[in-house]
Amino acid sequence: MSDADPMDQRLREYAARWRDAEPPSPAPDAAGLGPGRRGARTWWLAAATAAAVAAVILGGTRIVGDEGSRKPSEPAGAARPTGTAAPGTDEPTASGSPTEGSQDSTGKADPRAVRWAVNQIQTFLDVWRREGMLAAARRYFDAASQPRSAAGLQRLSYGKVLSAHVSSWESSEHFTLEVSLDLHFVGGPMAWNDGENDRFITVTRHGSSVQLDFATSP
């Protein structure tokens, strides 16, 4: 970034050596689709072809099955997540139990704080949908994460918390949830998926207010 920053130079030099040491990419080989030519490096193409059949069938089913029943804000053919929402209810699942592979510290999680945080995240989504990301960011993001203008920000048409699990836990005032969100957008989703999105959301409480920090990794 800056020529005067020695850490920038150190990172550049290290990253260059790191890239040089990396083995080459596993290149896709379209020719591997031919009979008897599906090697280990092209297994995904064969699987993708089979998956495409299911995608076509699913897409057709949704187009027919959703006529008249789709939410106004829900795009046609949008993938609906399965297995994350509580059966028979629109309420998201919220768990204070550690998810698979999470840290032992999650065992101290307070389910009330988790439920409160889930409600806050849902309110954040509601504000994002009704008033835009700029307004939502002002209420829920820290100063460093504030967008400078509404230009280029995603417009949310539908947003719902599907599930939340504790990823790490410091206290009832500071913890990280692994949250599954169902999001749909007006225009491009950019870094989001149109449909299910999983994010790590660090929740920091300041009295009755809350700060949310979204990340794609723990």
Binding site: A48, V53, P218
Partner: protein, 171 residues
């Protein structure tokens, strides 16, 4: 597979798989580097393959006018990497992986360990900017924020690394 078209949205043929392979190939080095930053060296190629499969499944929903392919693909890599870590959370860096560190110095490993302690947002920015070698605008698209936020995050990350590595009073 024969060509199929439903509702004008999905067309699947053998050709489309070949088209997808050609479409994704220019972006594979970046996808692979990002994957290598997210999981162990042994899991890197599996993560890329998982991401390719998922991208293929969603390819019909990709719309070029809404953004470049690379941020879309890297977001899928990030998502798949997170799903993989749920099953097992390997260290980002294993000092016992000779393939990964053949040409790296002890100072590099100190730096890598310091990077591993950054916040998730800072680490993602550092990984994408330095290791994947992307420009700030593309990183902003991947992270879903403004370019200025990416620059600020990188600056904070470097300051934190200075602190962690005890290299003076850089601000």
């Amino acid at each position: 597979m024969e060509a199929t078209l439903i509702g004008g949205r999905v067309a699947v043929t053998d050709d489309s798989a070949h088209d997808f392979a050609a479409w994704v190939e220019p972006h594979l080095p970046a996808m692979t580097r990002f994957a290598a930053r997210l999981v162990s060296a042994a899991d890197r190629d599996d993560l890329v393959q998982d991401a390719l499969l998922r991208a293929w499944r969603r390819w019909a929903t990709y719309q070029a006018e809404r953004g470049a392919p690379l941020p879309w693909l890297l977001a899928i890599v990030a998502d798949q990497g997170r799903r993989g870590r749920r099953r097992s959370r390997p260290p980002a860096v294993s000092v016992h992986d000779p393939r990964q560190h053949t040409r790296l110095t002890p100072a590099d490993l100190d730096l890598e360990r310091a990077i591993a302690t950054l916040s998730a947002r800072q680490r993602t920015a550092v990984d994408l900017y330095y290791f994947v070698d992307l420009d700030v605008a593309t990183i902003a698209a991947v992270m879903g924020c403004a370019p200025g936020t990416v620059k600020a995050t990188l600056s904070q990350a470097r300051a934190r690394l200075h602190q962690l590595l005890g290299e003076g009073d850089h601000v």
